[in-house]
């Protein structure tokens, strides 16, 4: 095993070590902690790029890393394929942008921000990499525990209340996750995802209901994370209450649920699952469409930008869930493109909201949490240089970013929001050729997508006019370059994604193809032998 092969576990080890290391220093050494965190996150981005290249290399599609050197069904395996590499890159890029943004002021708003941030990344990366159902639970709990801390970052009553609801919902969902895992294990006797895919078709008919019940309970746990209606009422509040950089990095959290469904739905209940093939697909399709409708109504009804962004997450989740429910290769590849684009958009938008709200008349911003949260912080330590210089044309820059966000959220050309939606809708209309689902639902889904885009456009225009044009006395907000730069960088990435649409779509196509033909994945996981040489890798996150 070459050293490069160990790169697969770096996205788990590096944040763990960094997060633990940062605990040794107290909050007075913020500069140092910030530097270490920044270095580690940048390193994660670099690792993710290398891994993405590796996963995309011809010939190699699935890299299996046996933690503890036990062969696959017995030990825990980490698996890197195109999907997990893509998600790793997305998570680390988003994290880097949010981190840079937070360095302007937010990382001072509470203790242990940098440690929690790294542990969150560890949980997210681990969830993307693991090939074991129970290990997935462990990583979920790690990322949730870190997110509980982060959602309370800069605590105020509103944040604590929303955070409490968030914690209760997720603890209850974790219980469901455990029940589902136990049921699946009780029937099939394995927890390895690839091994499950082999054993599920062989389950005798009288026990299939148990597997389906287990799958459904697992699904509910993931759908709570992803925010499918009617499991999503906590989501807009929690995301709106969280501090801006936290909300931005949380954009990836709702996508973790989506990722797991993307992975498990075709793997466990795909075409090869015999009597249980396409179990749950109708639920995902219908639930996804209901989520889009609910999100669109929520977007129209939102009076605050933070809430609007929260409901946009629901629209995005609903779109992806419905696309997973269609279970078609072309639709899935469109959905993957949409996933990347919408996650970047949400991240940038949450960061932008905080900057835009500074321009608001304070009286109008009673609802906005951010102002309130700074109160103490700014009084204590506001030497002049902390405020920084207002960059020239601040309002123009903010307005431009806001306009770009509106284009992305509404899905208008020329940016990637449009391409993602276009790919989805085009694939939906091509379904009749393959005949894998009822075209009527495809029509409804396409219509819902367009209506949701229109609703978002209306709401964004209304908010834009209210923010940038309506105020009689324009307050130029103080915005530092390191605050606007991450927003601009994320928006530039969506532009890159649309300019490089060809290669991006090719990658998504290959990913979708591999997802819907999981034999290669199963074969790679189950056939990787343990190394016979003296094992030099310990398993740091094996089950206690």
């Amino acid at each position: 095993m070459r050293l490069a092969d160990h790169l697969v576990i770096v996205p788990v080890i590096l944040p763990l070590v960094t997060g633990a290391f940062l605990l040794f220093f107290d909050e007075r050494r913020r500069g140092f902690k910030a530097a270490v965190n920044l270095f580690s996150t940048a390193l994660l981005v670099a690792t993710a790029v290398v891994l993405l290249n590796h996963a995309d290399a011809s010939g190699v599609t699935t890299a299996v890393y046996l933690v503890g050197n036990w062969p696959a069904p017995f030990g825990i395996a980490l698996v890197l394929d195109r999907l997990s590499a893509l998600m790793l890159l997305l998570a680390s890029v988003l994290a880097l942008a949010a981190l840079v943004f937070s360095l302007a002021r937010w990382h001072r708003a509470g203790p242990h921000f940098h440690t929690l941030f790294q542990l969150l990344l560890m949980g997210v990366d681990g969830a993307f990499l693991t090939a074991d159902l129970f290990n997935l639970f462990v990583f979920f709990e790690i990322l949730l525990a870190a997110s509980y801390g982060l959602v309370l970052h800069g605590a105020n009553p509103f944040r604590v209340r929303a955070g409490m609801h968030y914690i209760v919902i997720n603890l209850a969902a974790s219980s469901l996750f455990l029940i589902g895992v136990a049921l699946v294990y009780g029937v099939t006797g394995t927890l390895n995802m690839a091994d499950l895919a082999v054993r599920i078709p062989a389950v005798p008919p009288d026990r299939q209901a148990l597997v389906e019940a287990g799958g459904a309970l697992l699904g509910v746990a993931f759908l709570v994370k992803a925010g499918m209606w009617p499991l999503s009422f906590w989501l807009p509040n929690a995301y709106m209450a969280a501090a801006a950089p936290v909300a931005a990095v949380f954009a990836i959290l709702s996508k973790v649920g989506i990722y797991v469904l993307l992975r498990l739905s075709p793997l466990l209940f795909g075409t090869g699952a015999g009597a249980m093939a396409s179990f749950g697909d109708e639920w995902l399709l219908v639930g996804g469409m209901a989520t889009i409708a609910f999100g669109a109504i929520g977007i129209l009804a939102s009076q605050a930008l933070g809430r609007l962004a929260g409901y946009y997450i629901l629209v995005s989740s609903g779109t992806l869930l419905a696309a997973i429910g269609v279970a078609d290769i072309a639709v899935t590849s469109g959905a993957l493109y949409y996933l990347v684009s919408s996650t970047l958009t949400i991240g940038a938008f949450f960061l932008l909201i905080e900057l835009v709200e500074r321009a608001r008349d304070p009286a109008a911003a009673v609802l906005s949490v951010t102002m309130e949260a700074y109160g103490d912080e700014e009084d204590e330590e506001e030497p002049e240089e902390e405020v920084g210089i207002a960059i020239p044309g601040t309002l123009a820059a903010l307005g431009a970013c806001f306009g770009v966000c509106a284009l992305l959220i509404a899905g208008l050309p020329p940016l990637s929001g449009f391409i993602g939606k276009f790919a989805l809708v085009a694939a939906l209309f091509n379904l009749t050729a393959t005949g894998s689902t009822v075209p009527a639902t495809a029509w409804i889904l396409a219509a819902l997508l367009l209506i949701a885009g229109f609703a978002a456009l209306l709401a964004m225009m209304r908010e834009g006019i209210r923010t940038f044009w309506a105020p009689l006395e324009v307050i130029v907000p103080r915005v530092r370059v390191i605050e606007i730069a991450p927003v601009a960088a994320l928006l530039c990435l969506t532009a890159v994604l649309s300019v490089g649409g060809g290669p991006a779509m090719r990658y998504m196509d290959a990913t979708a193809r591999a997802l819907h033909a999981p034999q290669a994945y199963i074969g790679a996981v189950l056939s990787t032998p343990a190394r016979t040489a003296a094992p030099d890798t310990q398993s740091p996150e094996a089950r206690p």
């Binding site: 709990e141 309370l152 604590v160 409490m164 603890l171």
Partner: protein
């Protein structure tokens, strides 16, 4: 034994769900703990109930003579994680009580 265990799990989870739906944070946390106990027993039972059989292989290689060790390992992990998250929730509960002066889950008394 199966019936006793099933009733036990049912009572634990049933009471837990009822408490979870109550408006006071203390009731919610007790409810979550009860659900966690029920779930842990459930995971344990998924290894099939066997009395007096060791989970660690020694001597004979006949698997029917042993209890399944995997659910026991899973339960241990679940207990640890459940304990940690409950403790964390307890802190948030106290913070909320301190900030709002109310132990209602919405931070204010219903009118």
């Amino acid at each position: 034994m199966e019936l006793t265990l099933a009733i036990g799990i049912g009572v634990l989870v049933g009471s837990g769900v009822w408490l979870l739906l109550r408006p006071r944070t203390y009731q919610v946390i007790i409810g979550l703990s009860l659900i966690a106990y029920g779930v842990n027993l459930f995971i344990f039972s998924m290894g099939r109930l066997r009395a007096g059989q060791p989970p660690i292989l020694e001597g004979t290689a006949d698997p029917t003579a042993y209890a399944d060790p995997v659910p026991q390992a899973l339960v241990l992990t679940a207990i640890v994680i459940g304990f940690a998250t409950t403790a964390l929730f307890l802190v948030v509960l106290l913070v909320s009580r301190g900030l709002t002066g109310s132990d209602h889950v919405d931070g204010k008394e219903p009118r």
